[in-house]
């Protein structure tokens, strides 16, 4: 509150309305003997004629023994914020006392009259103050409402891609106020998997809901990338730890269901145990919190260890906030986790969800919510979401490029990685980047390791030799002073075909490894190239391996 009304100065202002009688004149004479008040004098007519009542106490001086004129009658029947009626008859005072702040039977000591007027003045001040406060409150209320509208809009946008409509999820989300301190987020991942986050910020209302913005943004961005549960919660904790004040944190349950609907990975920080139950309503597993809530622990101490299990087909997982188990019923009793399990056992099938909600609402009756309430049930079935496929490319870019790598390049940069980061930006190629990387890497490593560095693959036949081989690769690469590798890539947009030639200037045996033992840890480079490309050819004279790859 920033608007206060100053109390009036020591001289009280007063409106005196006399009925013109001798009585009124007598009181008036007594009144201002000491000049204590700043008085405005009115007749009933002039006073009633005022467009607006003055913001001062009103003193009415009415002779009760005379017959009241209609004007005086109207004067008495009006209502005033602060008014004192002075009269010489108790009957008149009694009759109009209801409209007045105070009444005084005359004759009375002048001191008493003055004291009464001072009280009236203070009352008037209080009225003015209240009025100002009311205005100020109304202004603030309008402002808060406007701000809430804005924030609501932001929330709607931030959560617009929340996939609450996912066919295997049923939710019952009820906030105490407009803003929810609980958060239930669902997003598909790129592998046909689905992520679900149930979070509960300390408290409820706007402040905790604010934390939902950064959390949901991180959630959706990471779900798109298909990040693991452990990494997600580490990032969430990092953000919440920096963002939330010390007395605020965020209990959270994050789970990922694989595309086939079987493998569940979860992390529970401070949330009630989620429940896994089958279609018969038998509780198969409780998933209790193994960690502290988000935003409590520093990064280096944070424990991102997850739990995993295999969910039987058609089983369901109920995620909920403590608002559900601590739901206060109409008999002033909490629901409790046992009762929730009984309810889930009674209504285990997705078709029963609305009846489960009805039972919860029946239990609550008319009792107001004291915490946000969120319940979500996920049925473990193949998600049917499919893998994220980028838009198919319409047009290709014909190109050809040639890279000549000298020892100083070979020992300092990762040529295939660099080539790929450029190629993977191009139409058609980006969707095949993993495959393109593989065959370029095979051809390049063959040229380098066998052609230029003269390494022998058989060294790789056991784990120690394998490590030694790559140690040796590194050493010889650093000692390399001459030789070069040329990589030539052409893309034909008509054939949608990539042609690759990799040549080396070495003397080593650059024939591609050929090994048909499935379990050998080396020698599968050639086999991979054979399977993935066409027109694979080795030219001994130019020391060039060439092949084609069609999209």
């Amino acid at each position: 509150m920033d608007t206060f009304v100053e109390l009036s100065s020591s001289t009280a202002s007063l409106c005196v309305v006399g009925d013109g009688s001798v009585f009124a004149q007598t009181v008036a004479n007594k009144l201002d003997q000491h000049g204590e008040f700043e008085v405005s004098w009115y007749t009933p007519e002039t006073f009633l004629g005022l467009a607006e009542l003055p913001q001062h106490p009103v003193l009415l001086l009415i002779d009760g023994e005379a017959e009241l004129s209609s004007t005086v009658g109207a004067l008495l029947r009006r209502s005033y914020p602060v008014a004192l009626l002075v009269s010489n008859t108790a009957s008149l005072l009694a009759k109009y006392a209801g409209q007045m702040t105070d009444v005084l039977l005359w004759p009375a000591p002048a001191e008493l009259l003055n004291a009464r007027i001072n009280i009236l003045q203070r009352l008037q001040d209080t009225h003015a103050q209240l009025d100002a406060m009311r205005h100020s409150l109304a202004w603030h209320k309008a402002r808060v409402e406007r701000e809430h509208q804005l924030v609501e809009h932001i929330f709607q946008n931030a959560l617009s891609r929340n996939y609450l409509d996912f066919k295997h999820v049923h939710t019952y989300l009820t906030p105490v106020s407009k803003f929810n301190g609980d958060l239930c987020l669902i997003s598909p991942g790129p592998l046909g998997n689905i992520y679900m986050l149930m979070a509960d910020f300390t408290g409820h209302g706007l402040a905790p809901a604010t934390g939902a913005l950064p959390l949901s943004q991180a959630f959706f961005a990471m779900a798109d990338r298909g990040v693991s549960v452990a990494e997600m919660v580490t990032e969430f904790n990092f953000r919440m730890n920096r963002l939330l004040p010390n007395d605020m944190f965020c209990a959270a349950f994050l789970l990922e269901l694989s595309a086939n609907g079987e493998r569940v990975t979860y992390w529970n920080g401070g949330m009630p145990p989620a429940l896994l139950f089958d279609q018969q309503g038998i509780i198969l597993k409780r998933l209790p919190p193994a960690h502290m809530a988000l935003g409590v622990i520093d990064d280096d101490e944070f424990d991102s260890r997850v739990g995993t299990f295999r969910a039987p087909p058609n089983s369901s997982i109920a995620l909920f906030t403590d608002g559900v188990t601590e739901l206060l019923g109409h008999q002033q009793k909490f629901l409790g986790s046992d009762a929730l399990e009984v309810l889930l056992s009674k209504y285990p099938r997705t078709a029963d969800f609305s009846r489960l909600v009805e039972e919860l609402e029946h239990f609550r009756g008319e009792t107001p919510l004291h915490d946000d309430l969120s319940l979500a049930i996920l049925t473990c079935l193949p998600t049917g979401l499919g893998e994220a496929t980028p838009e198919p490319d319409q047009f290709g870019l014909p190109f050809s490029f040639d890279v000549l790598l000298k020892p100083e390049h070979l020992s300092t940069i990762d040529p295939v990685g660099h080539i790929l980061s450029a190629l993977s930006q191009l139409p058609y190629l980006r969707r095949h980047r993993t495959t393109i990387y593989l065959f370029l890497a095979e051809a390049f490593n063959n040229a380098l390791e066998h052609g230029l560095l003269g390494l022998d693959s058989t060294l790789k036949h056991d784990p120690d030799g394998f490590a030694e081989y790559y140690q040796l690769r590194q050493e010889r690469l650093l000692e390399l002073t001459e030789g070069e590798i040329r990589i030539h890539v052409t893309f034909d947009t008509k054939l949608k075909q990539l042609s690759v030639q990799v040549s080396d200037s070495g003397t080593g045996v650059a024939l591609l490894d050929d090994n048909h033992d499935l379990t050998q840890s080396y020698g599968r480079g050639l086999e991979l190239l054979r399977q993935m490309t066409t027109d694979l050819h080795w030219d001994q004279t130019t020391r060039t391996v060439s092949f084609k790859y069609s999209f």
Binding site: Y470, Y522, L528
Partner: protein, 101 residues
Amino acid sequence: MPLHRQFANDGKELIIAIKGKFDFGLVQEFRQAYGNVGDQQPTVFIDLRETEYLDSSALGMLLNMRKSLGKSVKGIHIINCRPEVRSILDISRFDKLFVIE
């Protein structure tokens, strides 16, 4: 971190996730990741959800792991492969040696 290692379910599962490029650049790190699996005979999960690139050296590393772990683990699963990664594993017939999901 290109390699992330974590036990789950009280040591009954070991999850190794590889991000970005999976090749000989990780040879030491990868060996260390499965170097101490504990005595609970865990199931190992190689999580390739964020593996963008891999080559034959990665396949060799997976086979070395299989060889050296032997019976000390319940099984080795390769999980969350993107379609391209999956087809590389299939071409190499890794489905006969690992559980691929």
